[in-house]
């Protein structure tokens, strides 16, 4: 009963939807029609970006209302959210994950590290940025990017 009262008192916490982000739908994403399954790949990040991705899917930012959903398998996914610089050990798993996704597929690089190795550039364990390993379609800059920027990138893919 405590939970019931809590639900009633809290009401809706999702923030009102901001206007649609600029920049059209990328050409490969035209087919998705408002439904996008997302697979996260941590290629060696400091986990700052993961916290922000988790926040993008929490009730306040609620990325699910735009038709994006996190899934457990790359076979189910349309979009790979890749975070962090690609470490030597994660280069091959990242290639295989993207290869396992059915076409049409997109790769979104989240965070400065994923775009240009950011904080970790020149590290001995770093293979390179995400675009050195797999083709990147969209990038979300920031260290870490804010949840609403991640949501905006996902909205460009879902087109909602």
């Amino acid at each position: 009963m405590g939970l019931l009262r809590k639900i009633r008192d809290t009401g809706q916490v999702a923030e009102p939807a901001p206007p649609r982000p600029e920049g059209g739908v990328p050409p490969q994403a035209r087919e998705f029609g408002g439904s996008v399954q997302v697979r996260c790949v941590d290629a060696g990040s400091c986990n700052g970006c993961e916290i922000e991705i988790a926040a993008a899917f929490n009730p306040v930012y609620d990325a699910e209302r735009y038709g994006a959903r996190l899934v457990a398998s790359p076979r189910h996914a349309d979009v790979a959210l890749v975070t962090g610089p690609v470490t030597r050990n994660m280069a091959e798993p990242l290639r295989r994950t993207v290869a396992a996704m059915p076409e049409p597929r997109l790769v979104v690089a989240v965070g400065d590290c994923a775009i240009n190795c950011g904080e970790f550039a020149g590290g001995y364990g770093v293979e390179g940025a995400v675009s050195d390993v797999v083709p990147v379609d969209l990038a979300v800059p920031g260290c870490p990017p804010r949840p609403d920027e991640i949501v905006a990138a996902l909205r460009r893919v879902t087109g909602r």
Partner: protein, 321 residues
């Protein structure tokens, strides 16, 4: 007379096919609202299906016929169930074949096809999911059989339309101890059979906690669309069966008027929508059971079903004099 019967079947199957993704959407939306989210809308599962059908099909290396045939088999068994189960009318042309044992066997066939597909992928999680699914299925199928046997003793037949028509004529059968016990047992069995909380979590991302999801990890594109659609069909048909067995009011019992059939259709859609919303709301308050506790829950529901059979056997004998 037969035209109305066939119309009832066409309407029923059409409503189940169109409504199954909507029911899932409604349940997700209810949950989202209770969590304070805005939610993706009731139409989202239809968008998912449309998108998946446009994607590239993938057959992983090393998989064989079991993997390829499981999605069509799952959908086909669910569609046959949607024809057989009396949701709209008890006086349909297939009434002679709508036997309880056929229904349970069709459910089991779909489950086994998917479990074999999970094994066929040869991945660790596929095999794990298949073994869990079989454990649960072995406990659930007898419970469903037992619970509906308890209802079939007063009706004197294992034919579903006869049971439903009998209950519609004589509501006292449902409020007897046997009826109530059977309701409780069958509800738990349906939760387990459709992979809902507290037996399985349909939205989990953790492979170690998966049951149904673990078996379908390797499906992509149109095959995945079929698997998801099949699961949604099963949920809809089983909730509809619950509604027909325990709240049969409004179901068309004579094949004479189209108006009665249409009214029954509206009523069954309403009943299933209410059941789905209640289930989704209840799930907010439940946590998934530890896997080793699931057999205890299912054994409990089997016990209830057994008591229901015993009760209806002895008390039915008394009341029938």
């Amino acid at each position: 007379m037969n035209t109305v019967g066939y119309a009832a079947i066409v309407l029923q199957v059409g409503a189940v096919v169109a409504g199954a993704p909507l029911l899932t959407g409604l349940m997700r939306q209810t949950r989202a609202r209770l969590e304070g989210r805005a939610g993706a809308g009731v139409l989202q599962p239809w968008r998912d299906v449309r998108k998946l059908l446009r994607k590239e099909p993938i057959t992983p290396v090393g998989t064989g016929p079991a993997f390829r045939w499981a999605p069509p088999v799952l959908v086909a068994t669910s569609l046959v169930l949607a024809v057989l189960v009396p949701l709209v009318s008890t006086e349909s042309p297939v009434r002679g074949r709508a036997d309880l044992i056929v229904v349970v066997a069709l459910l089991a066939l779909g489950t086994v096809a998917l479990a074999l597909a999970g094994l066929d992928t040869g991945t660790a999680f596929g095999g794990m999911g298949a073994s869990r699914e079989m454990t649960i299925a072995a406990l659930v199928e007898p419970t469903i059989l037992m619970a509906v046997f308890a209802l079939s003793i007063p009706a004197g037949s294992t034919n579903l339309p006869v049971i439903v028509a009998g209950a519609a004529d004589e509501p006292a059968r449902l409020t007897s101890p046997a009826g109530l016990l059977a309701i409780a047992a069958l509800s738990v069995a349906v939760l387990a059979e459709t992979g809902r909380l507290p037996v399985d979590n349909p939205s989990t991302h953790l492979e170690l906690t998966m049951v149904h999801e673990a078996m379908v990890l390797e499906y992509a594109g149109p095959d995945l669309a079929l698997v998801e659609f099949g699961a949604q069909l099963r949920l809809t048909v089983l909730l509809g069966l619950l509604a027909s067995l325990f709240a049969p009011w409004g179901i068309a019992t004579s094949a004479s008027s189209l108006a009665a059939v249409l009214l029954a259709l509206v009523l069954v859609v309403l009943k299933v929508a209410v059941l789905g919303t209640v289930l989704a709301a209840a799930e907010v308050f439940w946590a998934k059971l530890r896997l080793f506790r699931v057999p205890e829950l299912l054994a409990g529901s089997f016990l209830l079903a057994l008591l229901a059979v015993t009760a209806s056997y002895f008390m039915g004998g008394e009341g029938g004099q």
